[in-house]
Symmetry: C2
Subunit: 166 residues, 2 copies
């Protein structure tokens, strides 16, 4: 990586890989959530992810590159943690609280990646792709906020009440 | 994980492991940064990490548990990505821009974790540990903002200028 453009391309390939992994992980998260609103949140975000992947393909096209992912250890680790929560919990509010936390960690990872790509697009003069990346960043922030609201308003207190009832 | 407390303990062990891995990674990031302000940012954050680990140990103590980490795939992946940037770049502004992005991804991961722990501490009635966790969350946010400011003000444009000069 000798230039900012090399770095941009590498991290673009990294998030392209990550989004495609998420496309497979989100339906599993939706399926295993108990709370209807949480199922919906994961399902809606799965559909957004399809569009986010298409936007990334438009960025590749802008750069004159073929869309390609590079394996990304971070997303693998984040999905692995989600699998652990599913393996170690039963259906219910505690699992839901864990799924929210895993989902928020993924959203935060994506926010960091899109934030860097946007800053580099500005610095490198690729202003033509800024709005595509910004649109996705806004969706990731919204998804994070929705998960947070579900946890704070409902899921965490239900999980805490379970312990008191036990 | 049958209760919110089980979930809290698991994620506490996860972030304890992560912080201890970071304690080893941050000096390497500081050493390989070119820009003095970036070196400083990583070094200062390494020192903060020492205190953050101590705070986590206080949370374990509050819970009556021995401090213990559980391997965390996400932080392993995030550190792996930092190693890749170092392996694939030479000393200079492009590497610095990559290190900033890796550092911000780590900060975002930590923000998500501490955010969840704080919400669960509130819901579970462990208000005694909220301020300890909040103090660390505030530091992670500050560290992320500092990295962002360094990139936007200086590092990214230096990296972009390199390409134009080449």
């Amino acid at each position: 990586m000798k230039s900012l453009d090399d770095l941009f391309l590498h991290f673009l390939q990294d998030i392209y890989y990550a989004e495609r992994q998420l496309l497979k992980a989100l339906p599993k998260m939706a399926k295993n959530a108990q709370e209807a609103a949480l199922k919906d949140a994961f399902t809606v975000h799965r559909d957004e992810t399809v569009e986010q992947i298409e936007r990334l393909e438009q960025v590749f096209e802008y750069l004159g590159k073929r869309p390609k992912g590079v394996p990304c250890g971070a997303i693998k680790g984040l999905i692995e943690e989600t699998e652990e929560v599913l393996a170690d919990s039963d259906v219910g509010a505690v699992r839901d609280a864990g799924l929210v936390a895993c989902g928020q960690a993924v959203e935060h990872y994506e926010m960091a990646r899109y934030g860097a790509l946007i800053a580099w697009a500005h610095a490198g003069g690729h202003t033509g792709v800024v709005s595509l990346l910004q649109q996705t960043l806004d969706e990731e922030k919204k998804a994070d906020k929705l998960l947070n609201d579900l946890a704070v308003k409902h899921i965490n207190s239900s999980a805490a009440a379970l312990a008191k009832a036990a």
